[in-house]
């Protein structure tokens, strides 16, 4: 019996850390509607700052004071980010905000690395709480008990702040109706900055509080983000109570999962999430997003794609140039072009569901990396030839997409995005942890083309041909009745249903097509590289595609190509520098602040004009 009690209590203590971090994310989203993707970075920052503040002091005052101060400093860093970056972005499309916070992740990652180094840091022990307490007939580390006590205290604190202070009342009002609060003369900037401080403070507190248990390392940011998203989605965006309950559910599932089926604990967590979201699509305590009635700012990403097929000559010219390249027989150019083409292809598959479909996926790398891994595993275990695997690889990801899509299309907006991210992280963890099959961190090597494509030039032409064909198919589908239906579902699900369109079915099919295509891109990619590592499935890979679309323009039909090529070229260049993440992060932020309407505008003024027209009609 006692082992269960211990697991239960440890689960509760994990839940505390998770709750602290998740509640911060939830609060920030509730008021500012910004999905702070960099929330995990603030959590990591809290841990590192706490480590430096506390040192190896065994004075309880310094320890607890250090935790608090670490949270305050983290909160202040958050304020800096809000003032310098996010404040300029409240009125731009969600995707841009999101990518901006991704830039923050990169910057914080490299800064942390610069300041504290690459080595994992062992956290300080809490003075006076280094032993264990006997509870329910079992020995439980006393620091875990302290954590269990901490989170209800914080919960009550937040509650008091929100329900007993004027500031809290304003925050709640802003959560309900931002415009109305602004109309009442409340200084929005101050309110948002305050909320951002609180959110980052909580993340920092979470990070610092887990120091005695987990220390600090550079993987913490991405490590916690998926779990935090799961908690916030399951609990309901903006609900603190929801975050608390969901954190307990998730952590207990983890704690007991490890006991019974160690390999499956992650799967259990995601299954629980899936079940809860099917029963309650807005989470346990979330409110459903209003049926329609999108705020004007969101309507700005008006699409033109699909109406005509412009740039026909441009396409032909592009293909002609690509076809000529091998004549020069410069190896590294061909390698780079193949990479550019395949990543553009990958971006185009995301564009298909995001542009015409309006479904923003944070986890598209699942299908790209999935295709690569499917091929690599088939090669490794069955030695199948390339001709078979270029069908089998995408077929595998298509099945994934069918499964994942079935869940995801039940949700929309941010919930959809977070669920896709969660599924992608699940797949990544499986690949990363299942050493015996996937090689874990070492990946799978020795995946080279077979048959005629062994010749590099043949392979090159194969890539160009298959990619062009696929892009042509995607474009045809976008301008087909199905493509129109997809846009209809994005524009107004209310109206779509009222004219008999089965919205979920349309979106599900589109998601599946996209998954198949991304799998094809991934299958070709693994052959071009000869190896595959879990990073191809990780969050940054998903964001690569998002950034490419941002660069090229989400609603521009040529967006994925331009964005994909420019971005791949850029990455190829800047990864030669030591602190390239810092550099890239700053570039991303600058880009979004300077061109809040997207770079696409430079290439196609028609889009800008249409947006302006739309603005005037508001």
């Amino acid at each position: 019996m006692s082992i269960y009690a211990v697991q239960f209590l440890i689960g509760l203590s994990d839940a505390s850390v998770l709750f602290l971090t998740a509640s911060g994310l939830s609060i920030i989203f509730g008021v500012s509607r910004i999905v702070n993707f960099s929330h995990g970075s603030f959590y990591m920052l809290g841990a590192y700052i706490g480590y430096s503040l506390i040192g190896d002091s065994d004075n309880p005052l310094i320890f607890w004071g250090g935790l608090f101060l670490a949270a305050v400093v983290t909160g202040l860093v958050g304020v800096l980010v809000e003032i310098v970056l996010l404040r300029r972005l409240y009125h731009v499309p969600e995707l841009f905000q999101l990518i901006a916070t991704f830039g923050v992740i990169l910057v914080i990652q490299d800064l942390t690395f610069m300041i504290w180094g690459a080595e994992d840091l062992l956290g300080p022990r809490a003075p006076g709480l280094t032993g264990s307490i006997e509870l329910l007939g079992a020995l439980v580390p006393s620091y875990d008990i302290a954590l269990i006590v901490l989170s209800p205290l914080v919960l009550v604190g937040i509650w008091l702040l929100f329900y007993k202070t004027r500031w809290g009342a304003l925050v709640r009002a802003a959560t309900e109706d931002r415009e109305m609060v602004a109309a009442l003369g409340v200084n929005q900037n101050l309110l948002f900055t305050g909320v951002f401080f609180l959110g980052c403070f909580l993340a920092g507190l979470g990070g610092a509080a887990q120091l005695p248990k987990g220390g600090a390392n550079l993987l913490m940011d991405f490590g916690i983000i998926a779990e935090v998203f799961v908690v916030v989605v399951v609990g309901g965006m903006g609900s603190i109570w929801g975050a608390y309950i969901a954190a307990i559910i998730i952590s207990e599932l983890n704690a007991f999962g490890i006991l019974f089926l160690p390999e499956s604990s992650l799967v259990m967590m995601f299954l629980a999430m899936a079940v809860i979201l099917i029963a309650r699509p807005w989470g346990l305590f979330g409110k459903s997003e209003s049926m329609e009635h999108k705020p004007p700012s969101e309507r700005e990403d008006l699409t033109i794609s699909g109406r005509k097929l412009p740039w026909n000559w441009g396409w032909l010219l592009l293909i002609a140039v690509l076809l000529v390249i091998p004549w020069f027989q410069i190896d590294f150019v061909m390698t780079l072009v193949i990479e550019m083409v395949l990543l553009s292809f990958f971006a185009a598959t995301l564009h298909f569901i995001m542009g015409p479909g309006g479904m923003v996926s944070f986890g598209h790398a699942l299908f790209f990396g999935g295709g690569s891994y499917a091929v690599a595993l088939f090669v490794n275990y069955l030695q199948l030839p390339m001709s078979v695997l270029l069908i089998a690889g995408p077929a595998v990801t298509m099945v994934f997409a069918l499964l994942v899509g079935w869940f995801c299309v039940r949700l929309s907006g941010v919930y959809f995005a977070m669920l896709t991210l969660a599924f992608a992280q699940l797949a990544w963890s499986v690949v990363f942890q299942w050493d015996s099959v996937t090689g874990g961190d070492d990946g799978i090597i020795g995946v080279w083309p077979t048959g005629p494509a062994e010749d590099k030039i043949v392979f090159y032409y194969l890539v160009i041909t298959l990619t062009s064909l696929s892009l042509y198919v995607i474009r045809r589908v976008i301008s087909s009745p199905f493509g129109f239906a997809l846009r209809a579902c994005r524009d107004s699900s209310l109206r779509s249903r009222a004219i008999g369109i089965d919205v979920r079915k349309i979106q599900w099919i589109a998601f599946t097509i996209s998954g198949f295509m991304a799998g094809l891109a991934g299958s070709l990619y693994v052959y071009s590289k000869g190896s595959i590592f879990p990073t191809e499935m990780a969050i940054p890979r998903s964001f690569d595609a998002l950034i490419m679309l941002l660069l090229g323009g989400v609603q521009s039909p040529v967006g994925p190509i331009i964005g994909g090529s420019v971005y791949t070229f850029l990455i190829d260049y800047i990864t030669r520098f030591d602190y390239w993440r810092l550099l890239l992060g700053i570039m991303i932020m600058l880009l979004i602040v300077l061109f809040p309407r997207g770079i696409s505008g430079i290439f196609s003024s028609g889009i800008i004009q249409r947006i302006k027209l739309l603005g005037q009609s508001e």
Partner: protein, 250 residues
């Protein structure tokens, strides 16, 4: 064909303890243009959303052409021949007026799941006919995202007519229109109801429109049907006068 097209019995819905619609029953026959009126918050839109499947009633039954529709999703109800316009217009803002109607026609012809056909070649004539009917042909190539509100109402009507519905549900079809346009649109609706022998239910705040065009009027107040009858009967109804001329006049 005559007879009851829509039959509603004991329909009720409450939100968080507030009774939005309370045990209402009525029926509509083919060839009737029935108006549902009542002050703001009387439950008109809730009622419409229950008839059209957006909201599931707590109690009661809705029969369309004899088929029970409670629990059906809007897209299934559409298949029974129900056209709907919304109080706050819902159109496809990234598409032109013509495309909005076209997509409805395509779905009606069950061609939505064709992945390679050229959309712009489908149902052009039929779409133009519908646009002509509602008088918006000249706007056909403009995006719905930039259209004036009154025009959007017309687009909605054209879209709602695309599947030759037996029942039209119109939630404030003339909001945002000038008085002249209102009369024209309701005259058109009237004509469609008569010539196609279909049934239509509409809500409206403009009493001129209601009394000039409705063949029958039902009055909703605080979730309950308090009166139903010919325009003249309603005009002289004591209770209705109190509601409309009393404190809650809107």
């Amino acid at each position: 064909m005559m007879g009851e097209l829509l039959e509603v019995k004991h329909l009720s819905k409450s939100f968080a303890g507030i009774q939005a619609v309370n045990d209402i029953s009525f029926s509509i026959n083919r060839g009737e243009l029935v108006s549902l009126i009542g002050p703001n918050g009387a439950g008109k839109s809730t009622c419409f959303n229950m008839l059209n499947g957006q909201i599931k009633p707590d109690k009661g039954s809705v029969r369309i052409n004899g088929r029970e529709t409670v629990g059906m999703s809007p897209d299934k109800i559409w298949k029974l021949g129900v056209g709907r316009t919304f109080q706050i217009t819902a159109t496809f803002y990234s598409m032109t007026v013509l495309e909005n109607v076209r997509i409805a026609l395509i779905n009606d012809a069950q061609k939505l799941y064709s992945f390679f056909a050229r959309t712009e070649k489908l149902y052009h004539e039929e779409a133009m006919n519908l646009l002509e009917q509602v008088g918006i042909v000249d706007q056909r190539d403009r995006l719905c995202g930039i259209l004036a509100y009154g025009d959007l109402k017309r687009v909605e009507l054209a879209v709602a007519l695309a599947n030759n519905p037996g029942l039209l549900l119109m939630d404030e079809p003339t909001a945002g229109m000038s008085p002249k346009e209102r009369v024209a649109l309701m005259a058109l609706t009237h004509e469609i109801v008569k010539t196609k022998n279909i049934a239509a239910l509409f809500t409206e705040h403009d009493m001129d429109v209601v009394f000039n065009h409705a063949s029958r009027i039902m009055v909703l107040a605080r979730g309950s049907l308090i009166a139903s009858g010919m325009p003249d009967e309603i005009k002289n109804n004591q209770m209705v006068q109190e509601i409309y001329l009393g404190a809650s006049f809107t």
